[in-house]
C-alpha cells in the first residue's frame, strides 16, 4: 500500500458535485469543529466557503497562533545545476530549451554558501534539474558536505530517488525533502511530461514515502497550481499530507502551493489560480491539518506575502535566486522561473518583525 492506492480511490469521489452542494451553513459548522474530516476539508474549498473567507481566516489565524506562535521560518533556495533530461512543458529547465546549462563546482558551491551564510540564514534548500549524469547522488553528497559547514538544516529539491539513495543523503547531512508532484491528475501529468524519467507518475508520488522510510526529518509536498483544477489539486495535496502525517508520525510534514510563474518558453497555465483561491486553499489546509507547515515562496508578490504572514503560513523563502550560482555570479544563466518578491533576507526579516512576528533563521541543530 502506498499513497498511489489512495489516489486511485480519490478518483471515485465526485468533488465537483460536493463543492457545488456545499452551503454556507455547512461551512459555519465546519469552522467550529475541533477536528475536520476529509469531506469538511473539501467543503472549505467550495464557492460557499469563499463567501465566508473572513470567518475562515479568523479561525485559521487562531489555530496557527496556538500551534506555531508568532514565528516565521526563513530559508533560501540554492541552485546547484540546471542540466535536465525531462521535457516538462511548463519548466524553464526543460531539456528542449536552448539555454546555457551550468553546474556549480565544489569551489563555487562553497562561494555561494559563504555568500548566503552572510545573511544569517541557517536553513537552505538545494536544487538541481534531473540529470543523473551531471547531478549524481555522489555530487549532491559532496555539495552537502561543504554546506554543512555553513548551515544547520539542509533540504533537497531534486529528482526522486530510491530509498537507499535517500538514506545516503540523510547520512551525508540532509534532513529535509521537498518534492512536488506538480499535478495529481494522472492524465494531465502524462500530457505535460511527454518524455524523460519524470513521466513515471507513481515513482514520483511515492518518493516522500521512500524518504520517510529512510528517516528524513521533514517532508514538503505540493501541487504546482495552474496545471489543473485548483480545488481537486489542493484537496489531493491535503489528503497526501494527512497520509504522510499518519504513516510517518515523527516527520514534520509541510505543504507548499506554488503558482505558475512566467519562465523560459511559452507555456501558459491552463487553470490560472487567483489570489483569493490561493488564500482559500492555505486556510483550508490550516483548518484540516493544524500542525502542518505551510510554505509561501518568492514566486508570490511582496504585497501578498506580507498579508499572509499572520494567515496560516509558517515558512517563507527570501533572498531567492532561481539561477545556478545566483548568489555570487549569474550573468549568463537563465532562471527556472521568474521570482516576484526580490527582497533580501535582511529586508524580509524586518518586514516579518514589523508585522509582529519573529523571523526564525534557525530551527534545527545538526547533531552529527
Amino acid at each position: 500500500m502506498s499513497f498511489y492506492d489512495e489516489i486511485i480511490n480519490l478518483q471515485n469521489i465526485d468533488t465537483q458535485a460536493s463543492l457545488k452542494n456545499t452551503t454556507t451553513s455547512k461551512i459555519a459548522s465546519i469552522i467550529d469543529k475541533p477536528k475536520l474530516r476529509p469531506d469538511d476539508f473539501l467543503a472549505l474549498l467550495s464557492p460557499a466557503a469563499s463567501d465566508m473567507i473572513e470567518q475562515i481566516a479568523q479561525q485559521a489565524y487562531k489555530v496557527t497562533l496556538r500551534h506555531f506562535g508568532r514565528c516565521i521560518l526563513i530559508y533560501t533556495p540554492m541552485y546547484l545545476a540546471d542540466y535536465c533530461v525531462n521535457y516538462c512543458v511548463y519548466c524553464g529547465f526543460n531539456a528542449s530549451n536552448d539555454i546555457t546549462r551550468r553546474k556549480l563546482s565544489l569551489v563555487e558551491v562553497e562561494m555561494e554558501a559563504h555568500e548566503i551564510a552572510k545573511t544569517g540564514l541557517k536553513h537552505i534548500l538545494i536544487l538541481t534539474g534531473e540529470s543523473r549524469q551531471h547531478s549524481s547522488v555522489s555530487y549532491i553528497k559532496d555539495c552537502v558536505s561543504i554546506l554543512r559547514k555553513y548551515f544547520s538544516s539542509i533540504a533537497t529539491e531534486i529528482y526522486p530517488l530510491s530509498q537507499d539513495e535517500y538514506a545516503e543523503l540523510i547520512a551525508a547531512g540532509v534532513d529535509g525533502l521537498t518534492i512536488y508532484q506538480e499535478v495529481y491528475d494522472q492524465k494531465i501529468y502524462a500530457d505535460i511530461h511527454p518524455k524523460g524519467p519524470k513521466r513515471d507518475y507513481k515513482f514520483r508520488l511515492e518518493a516522500p514515502e521512500r524518504a520517510g522510510q529512510a528517516g528524513v526529518r521533514t517532508i514538503n509536498i505540493g501541487p504546482l497550481l495552474g496545471l489543473a483544477n485548483w480545488q481537486q489539486e489542493v484537496f489531493k495535496a491535503g489528503i497526501h499530507a494527512a497520509y504522510l502525517q499518519k504513516k510517518f508520525p515523527d516527520v514534520e510534514v509541510s505543504v507548499s502551493l506554488p503558482r505558475m510563474r512566467p519562465q523560459c518558453g511559452d507555456y501558459e497555465p491552463e487553470c490560472p489560480v487567483s489570489d483569493s483561491q490561493l488564500v482559500q486553499s492555505l486556510l483550508a489546509l490550516r483548518l484540516f491539518l493544524p500542525r502542518v507547515g505551510l510554505t509561501i515562496s518568492t514566486r508570490e508578490s511582496a504585497e501578498l506575502r506580507d498579508n499572509l504572514i499572520p494567515l496560516a503560513v509558517t515558512k517563507m523563502s527570501a533572498g531567492s535566486s532561481t539561477v545556478v550560482g545566483g548568489h555570487t555570479d549569474s550573468k549568463d544563466s537563465v532562471g527556472q522561473f521568474d521570482i516576484s518578491d526580490d527582497r533580501t533576507v535582511d529586508q524580509m526579516r524586518k518586514v516579518v518583525a514589523a508585522h509582529g512576528y519573529k523571523p526564525i533563521l534557525k530551527d534545527w541543530h545538526d547533531l552529527t
Partner: protein
C-alpha cells in the same frame, strides 16, 4: 512563610517556569521573566543561533535565572541525549528538559524513549526534568532512572485547553515523591492556579503567555495565579459539596423517633 521549592540542588521562590518558543520578539523575554518573577526558563537548542548575538536566546537571559535547555526536535532517546550534551557545553547549565516527540501531529511525548534518555543523562550529572504523558508506571521508571522532577502534560502542546489530564496528574501527585510540574496545555492563569491548588509543585507555561495580546501583563497574571494556587494548597481548601445542604433534610423525620 517559608515555602521554598527545592529542585536540582537549588532553592526557588517562584513556581512558574517559562517557555520561550513562541515569542514574536526576543526583547520581550526579559520583561516577561521580570513580570512573572520566574526563575527557570526553558530554551530549545534548535532555535539558539550561536553565530548571531541578536538571534541567540541565551543573550536575553540574565545570570540569575536558571537556563533549562530543552531537547525539542528529538525523535528518540539518542537525539535527545546528543542535544542535551551540546546544550550543556554551549550554555554551561546542567539542567535539561527532556522532550522526545515522535508524533508531529499531536506533539505527544514518547515515554519509552524518554525513560532511556533520563537514565543516561542523569548518570552524566544532568538535572533531568522529563516531559511526559501522565502515566504512573512511566513516571516511576523515570524516578528510578534519576529524574529530578516529573513534567506531565495538561493537554497537548499549544492547545491551551487546560488540565485535561487532571485525574492522571492527581495520581502522580499522590504517588510520586518528586516535584510534579505540569507542562503544556495550560491556557489561562485560572488553570495554573487549579494545578497548584491540586498540589503540583510548579507549572511551565509558554503558548498562553507568548501568544497573548500583552505577553508581559499575562506573565504577571500567571505569576500571581501560581502564587495564589500554591497558597490555597498550603492553606488546605475546605471540603466542597456538590449540592447545597437541603433546608428540609430528607431524613428529618427520623428525629421524631
Amino acid at each position: 512563610m517559608d515555602d521554598k521549592f527545592k529542585i536540582g540542588g537549588k532553592e526557588l521562590d517562584s513556581r512558574l517556569f517559562i517557555g520561550t518558543g513562541k515569542f514574536a520578539d526576543y526583547n520581550q523575554i526579559p520583561d516577561v521573566i521580570k513580570a512573572s518573577k520566574s526563575q527557570v526558563v526553558t530554551v530549545a537548542l534548535r532555535r539558539v543561533d550561536f553565530d548571531i548575538p541578536e538571534e541567540n536566546m541565551l543573550e536575553y537571559l540574565s545570570s540569575d535565572v536558571i537556563m533549562m535547555p530543552n531537547t525539542s526536535g528529538a525523535r528518540n532517546a539518542d537525539e535527545a541525549i546528543k542535544i542535551a550534551r551540546i546544550a550543556r557545553a554551549a550554555s554551561g547549565s546542567n539542567w535539561v528538559k527532556i522532550e522526545v516527540i515522535s508524533d508531529q501531529k499531536y506533539l505527544l511525548p514518547d515515554n519509552f524513549e524518554t525513560i532511556t534518555a533520563v537514565e543516561i543523562l542523569a548518570k552524566e550529572g544532568f538535572v533531568v526534568l522529563p516531559y511526559m504523558s501522565p502515566d504512573l508506571m512511566a513516571a516511576k521508571r523515570m524516578v528510578d532512572a534519576g529524574a529530578a522532577a516529573i513534567m506531565p502534560l495538561g493537554a497537548p502542546i499549544g492547545t491551551n485547553r487546560g488540565l485535561k489530564t487532571k485525574e492522571l496528574v492527581k495520581v502522580l501527585i499522590d504517588e510520586i515523591d518528586l516535584p510534579i510540574i505540569v507542562d503544556a496545555g495550560i491556557g489561562r492563569p485560572s488553570e495554573a492556579a487549579e494545578a497548584m491548588e491540586m498540589g503540583c509543585a510548579a507549572v511551565l507555561v509558554n503558548t498562553a503567555i507568548a501568544t497573548a495580546d500583552d505577553p508581559v501583563l499575562m506573565a504577571e497574571a500567571f505569576g500571581q495565579a501560581v502564587e495564589c494556587g500554591r497558597k490555597a494548597y498550603l492553606a488546605g481548601p475546605g471540603a466542597t459539596a456538590d449540592l447545597a445542604k437541603a433546608s428540609s433534610p430528607l431524613t428529618g423525620f427520623l428525629r421524631n423517633e
